[in-house]
Amino acid sequence: MLKDITFGQYFESNSLIHRTDPRVKIVLMIALIVFIFVSGNMFSLLLSAAFVLLVLIVSRVPFKMYLKNMKAILPVLIFTAIINLFYGEGGTVLLSFWKLTVTTGGIYRSFFMALRIALLIFVSSALTYTTTPNDLTDAIEKLLTPLKFIGLKSAVHTLAMMMTIALRFIPTLIEEAEKIMNAQKARGADLESGGLVQRVKALIPILIPLLISSVRRASDLAEAMECRCYNGGEGKTRMKQMHTSLTDIWVTVACVLYGSFVVLLNILL
């Protein structure tokens, strides 16, 4: 079903990674991405690969799920690999035609780049599989708290509120779009055939009703929020508090250790 698609895909489990504080998780994910980029040679990149693999195993999310995400990005991966094939320097020439040459250096480089992208995808999927969208939103709000001190107080709250409402209404709007599509099909609208231009044109009678109904929903929601004493987040408290625990410390220690090895390998080799 179309409406079962949610933004980010959470996989229910109670692993070490699931239990980590979402704020810590986001920061560590960013750190991990940085370290993967910092990994300048094959040894440090392989170490990164090993660490990412460890994260995936510990997350207790079936490996199949990660591969599913990878499939979507496969064309980009292949494209990068092919392009880099011709950019390698040094090594013996294996193939040469027109202005392009493929060297062993190129093969090395192509593999290196593809692996790097794959690791980035794995890391970000590990975050979305182990954290509910709501926790992610809350964590982002908390992490942006320092912005409040430079006069962006309402901006942080507004951003978080927007994300919450967007998450809430994605399934509702998808359902509505399906309904409108069926209604238009019942009146003889042809959505499946024709060229690109024709298909885009066929979408207009779906998008306009959807837009109008969204505006109506927004105004209803605004009224309902007002009735629930919403006044732009002034003095608002939260029911769910985030706590950092021992788990977070261990996970952070692991990441720091990994990071220092990457730096070490980069310097030594």
Binding site: N134, T164, T172, A224, M225, E226, R228, C229, M239, K240
Partner: protein, 283 residues
């Protein structure tokens, strides 16, 4: 009993393409604490406009509305009025803010700036009061219309209002969902003593109320106990409203010469009324 809401000679006007419409005309109404009032009226009778004035969402053009002694025109007490008079709307989808049930219910108390532990307790209580506690971790789009509307009600009672105003909360629901909402409201009224003002055009819902107010064209045309109101079948039909099926049946029997009275509503009472009429006929 004290009056919780006092509507004093209120008129509400709005401008639409330069013509002035009067949605509510010099209307006065007192709502008693702990009562269950149903406001009936067809579309455009001004009942929704009245509802939105009760918690200050709309401000009266003329006249005053006092909620627990506070004038709704008083900007400084706006939040206080909204907290005291909770409002539930027609479309359950457009009232829910968060994608997890308990987080949505927490939205109101969070806005009030309560302590996390207090919010937790209120959310749990509110969800239990509408029998949705086991769905607290669920997501609204997987629930039925009736369930979603009950979550919306829970979101309001978590703010511990004195009064609950519901503007056609059952209009978009199936019969099962409608029954769920009505029984929830009766339960809240009886067990928690929350004053309920239910705006509807379903007669079956009006039968359960202490008091029925019929509105037409921005004015109150009748006001009284359900059995009193439904007695005037002709008047109700004249303003485009139906009467409960039992009343309709008795009314038609009466018109055809049977000596039955039309001021009973429940099926059992109606059956007794018909039986006694038949008995006297035989004699």
């Amino acid at each position: 009993m004290d009056n919780l809401i006092e509507v004093k000679n209120v008129t509400y006007e709005y401008t639409d393409e330069e013509t002035v419409h009067t949605a509510v005309k010099n209307l006065s109404l007192n709502i008693k604490k702990g009562s269950f009032t149903v406001i009936l009226g067809h579309n455009g009778s001004g009942k929704s406009t009245l509802a939105k004035m009760l918690n200050g969402l709309n401000k009266p053009t003329l006249g005053d509305i006092l909620v627990d002694g506070i004038n709704t025109k008083d900007e400084a007490n706006e939040l206080e009025v909204r907290r005291k008079v909770g409002m539930v709307f027609q479309n359950p989808d457009n009232q829910l803010v968060a994608s997890i049930v308990e987080e949505d219910v927490a939205f109101g108390p969070e806005n009030l700036g309560l302590e996390p532990s207090v919010i937790r307790q209120r959310v749990d209580e509110a969800l239990k009061a509408v029998d949705m506690y086991e769905f607290r971790k669920s997501t609204p789009h997987r629930l039925s219309g009736g369930q979603k509307q009950r979550i919306a009600i829970a979101g309001i009672i978590a703010m511990q209002p004195l009064c609950l105003v519901l503007d056609e909360p059952t209009a978009m629901l199936d019969p099962k969902g409608r029954a769920e909402i009505v029984s929830t409201l009766i339960k809240l009224n009886h067990e928690k003593g929350i004053t309920v003002i239910l705006i509807t055009h379903y007669m079956e819902e009006a039968e359960k109320a202490d008091r029925v107010v019929v509105m037409n064209d921005g004015e109150i045309i009748s006001d009284g106990a359900p059995s009193e109101i439904f007695k005037n079948v002709e008047q109700l039909k004249a303003v485009g409203l139906d009467v409960p099926q039992t009343t309709e049946l008795l009314y038609n029997l009466q018109k055809n010469g049977f000596s039955v009275s039309t001021n009973v509503i429940s099926i059992k009472e109606a059956a007794c009324e018909i039986a006694s009429a038949l008995h006297s006929e035989e004699k």
